[in-house]
């Protein structure tokens, strides 16, 4: 643990923060940490705030080396991390909108989540009433001959979430894409503050609907760390079972949708059938197609009976019969590969700089998977591979998903064979504490940090979606591609709007 244990971590270590250390530092050490991240010796895992304090989660070179540094900013200012490290820019713009804390020397001072329509400024900080302005947003300029702009959104053509894309194109070629997000900002972190654990868990599970299981697990694990307890083994295995079902369903949906955006509807139709089968099996096993509210702090609020196990075994058999044919079809359709190979290339250096998680990172050579490192039960006792490619194109992101489907099938097999018996829930003691968790959703690693009060209620909770570090990379990946390939690139990233906007 060389990088994080030196002067950065020489500050005052907070008691009752688990499982990784949180250290209060001065602005000098904060800046050192920022430059360490910028020069690639550590990865930025998250950057968030509460009134008067900013926190930064760092991942050292050894992936089990995680630490949180905190800086008090009584005058409302702190040294900008984005100044040194571009991946922090939107996080800092976002926290400035919410808390009113000023990142000193922030290179981009435009608001991010605040569109001037809330009627308040800094809702989580000083909270000042202000009339809605709806002021226009200044997009970054692109200069050159024969350029034109294409504004898209927030209401898109498909059945998808809202966001605005501003393309600057030269003929068909995209010169610059700039995203504007924040449309589905619901103020989840403000609703979390003061909430009972049950309600807070429901909110966490509604941060990004496609990752409801992964978010619920991340929130539950953070709470359990804060209270210094562990969910019973059976609950942890059932959680993982649900998480792998969620991964399967989403990957099937994505593989089909990417092909559909290349006008190859046959794959979409067949993948849609597989996705539906997974959701129906989930409904049979756990009583809800998306398995919402089944994971709770302390354990799970569901049980897997013999009927459910049979449904899962049938599901696995069915997928194993059908999916290889679809993979064969994908790999042998030249007109489809012509669209996906070499399209939307994300360079490995950028994936590494941004700490991109999930298939976005793993298709561009970043072998990070939170199930492996830092790891959490039951994955530490299960055999699985983390697929890796380095081409970084749409095709690579499809293949990572295909390989992950195979791994998830194997994981579900192993879990069905070895599912331990015993209790489903551990009682929650009522005490104060701070906890953090990193959980691998289908899209990448979800970070949840929580502080509980002595009454057992949530004082502050931060949820960091993997999309924060993937959205900016989409802007890079699309550059030089044709406008018509944007849907393909966008779907291959499949970033969350709601998870990002919060």
């Amino acid at each position: 643990m060389p990088v994080l244990t030196d002067q950065i971590l020489q500050g005052e270590r907070i008691r009752d923060h688990r499982p990784w250390p949180r250290v209060v530092v001065d602005s000098g050490a904060w800046t050192v940490a920022a430059t360490r991240v910028a020069d690639g010796h550590a990865t930025l895992l998250g950057l968030w705030a509460e009134p008067g304090t900013v926190h930064m989660a760092l991942l050292g070179e050894a992936a089990s080396d995680i630490a949180i540094v905190s800086l008090a900013c009584p005058d409302g200012r702190f040294p900008s991390v984005g100044r040194w490290h571009a991946p922090a820019l939107r996080l800092e713009r976002g926290l400035r909108d919410l808390f009113g804390l000023e990142p000193a020397d922030l290179p981009d001072e435009r608001p991010w989540l605040d569109h001037g329509r809330w009627g308040v400024r800094h809702p989580l900080g000083g909270r000042a009433e202000t009339p809605p302005s709806g002021a226009p947003y200044g997009f970054l300029p692109a200069e050159g001959e024969s350029l034109h702009q294409i504004p898209v959104g927030p209401v898109h053509a498909g059945i998808i979430e809202p966001g605005h894309f501003r393309f600057t194109a030269n003929g068909e070629t995209v010169v610059r894409l700039e995203e504007r997000l924040g449309y589905v900002h619901k103020g989840i972190e403000s609703l979390m503050a003061g909430a009972e654990l049950e309600r807070a868990a429901q909110l966490a599970g509604r941060t990004s609907g496609d990752s409801t299981v992964a978010y619920a697990i991340a929130f539950a694990r953070a709470v359990e760390s804060a209270l210094d307890i562990e969910a019973p083994p059976r609950a942890q295995w059932l959680r993982a079972l649900m998480a792998e079902l969620e991964r399967l369903a989403n990957h099937f949906g994505d593989i089909g949708a990417v092909c559909n955006d290349a006008a190859f509807a046959l794959m979409h139709a067949h993948c849609g059938v597989l996705r539906e089968r997974v959701l129906r099996a989930a409904d049979t096993c756990f009583g809800h197609r998306l398995m919402r509210d089944r994971v709770v702090p302390g354990g799970v609020d569901t049980e897997l009976d013999e009927r459910g196990k049979t449904a899962l075994r049938d599901l696995l058999a069915n997928i194993r019969e059908r999916f290889p044919r679809l993979v064969h079809l994908y790999d042998n359709t030249a007109s489809l590969l012509d669209r996906t190979v070499g399209t939307g290339i994300l360079k490995p250096a950028l994936a590494r700089q941004y700490g991109a998680g999930g298939y976005v990172g793993r298709a561009s050579g970043r072998a990070f998977d939170a199930r492996r490192m830092p790891g959490y039960p039951p994955y530490d006792g299960l055999a699985f591979e983390v697929p890796l490619r380095d081409e970084g194109d749409v095709n690579a992101r499809v293949w990572i998903r295909i390989r992950e489907v195979e791994q998830s099938l194997s994981l579900i097999d192993q879990m069905l064979a070895r599912l331990p018996g015993g209790a489903l829930r551990e009682a929650l003691p009522q005490r104060a504490g701070e906890g953090i968790a990193l959980v691998e959703g289908f899209r990448g690693d979800i970070l949840v940090w929580v502080r509980l009060g002595p009454d057992g209620k949530v004082l502050r909770c931060h949820l960091r979606d993997p999309s924060w570090f993937q959205w900016p990379l989409l802007e890079a990946a699309i550059e030089g591609n044709i406008v018509a390939d944007f849907p393909l690139c966008n779907k291959s990233f499949n970033c969350s709007y709601s998870g990002h906007d919060l």
Binding site: G119, P123, G134, V184, L191, N332
Partner: protein, 180 residues
């Protein structure tokens, strides 16, 4: 590809029989749906989906309506890319303050006659997000709503029953062709 297509010729379809139209929704719609307008559209409805702030859960299940099991298009209902082509707006989510204007403009861009269907618990009154500084509330707080389909999220079958109720509400009573 030939292999896959060939196999499927000899398989029975996955598509399931149509569920009954939601009786409760029918009753709610009876007062709202203009029969004359409905007759003009016949049994063909074009839907524009608008996410006004949802968590994306409802979108996933709305998507599922297009899969082989539910096959929404067999009923003459289809999703379109523009509100200009739509008869129905299917709106999800608590309406966020940042999406309010976009929803209003989408509504105004939809030609009359039109119906608004609010999907999901959040679309009724903001659901678990109600009371936030960033949330206006339910869909009806911004545009007039003809039908609510509840659920978190509603299942595709539930959605289908609601949409069939909308189809049937304007049709002559007890004259629903067997679909499937």
């Amino acid at each position: 590809m030939r292999d896959l297509l060939f196999r499927n010729i000899f398989r029975t379809p996955l598509t399931e029989p149509a569920p009954d139209a939601d009786a409760e929704a029918m009753a709610a719609l009876a007062a709202r749906v203009d029969r004359a307008a409905h007759r003009r559209l016949g049994r063909s409805l074009a839907i524009r989906e608008v996410d006004a702030g949802s968590c994306n859960g409802c979108e996933l299940e709305i998507h599922a309506l297009n899969n082989a099991y539910y096959d929404l298009e067999r009923f003459g209902i289809r999703f379109v890319a523009s509100p200009r082509h739509a008869d129905v707006l299917l709106v999800t989510g608590p309406v966020t303050r940042n999406m309010r204007e976009a929803l209003e403009r989408t509504y105004n861009a939809t030609p009359d006659p039109k119906w608004v269907v609010a999907v999901g618990d959040c679309a009724v009154d903001g659901g678990c997000f109600a009371g936030s500084y960033a949330v206006v509330g339910g869909v009806a707080d911004v545009v007039p709503v003809d039908l609510h389909i509840r659920g978190c999220p509603p299942s595709p079958t539930h959605l289908l029953r609601g949409l069939l109720a909308l189809l049937d509400a304007g049709a002559a009573p007890a004259k629903r062709p067997a679909a499937g």
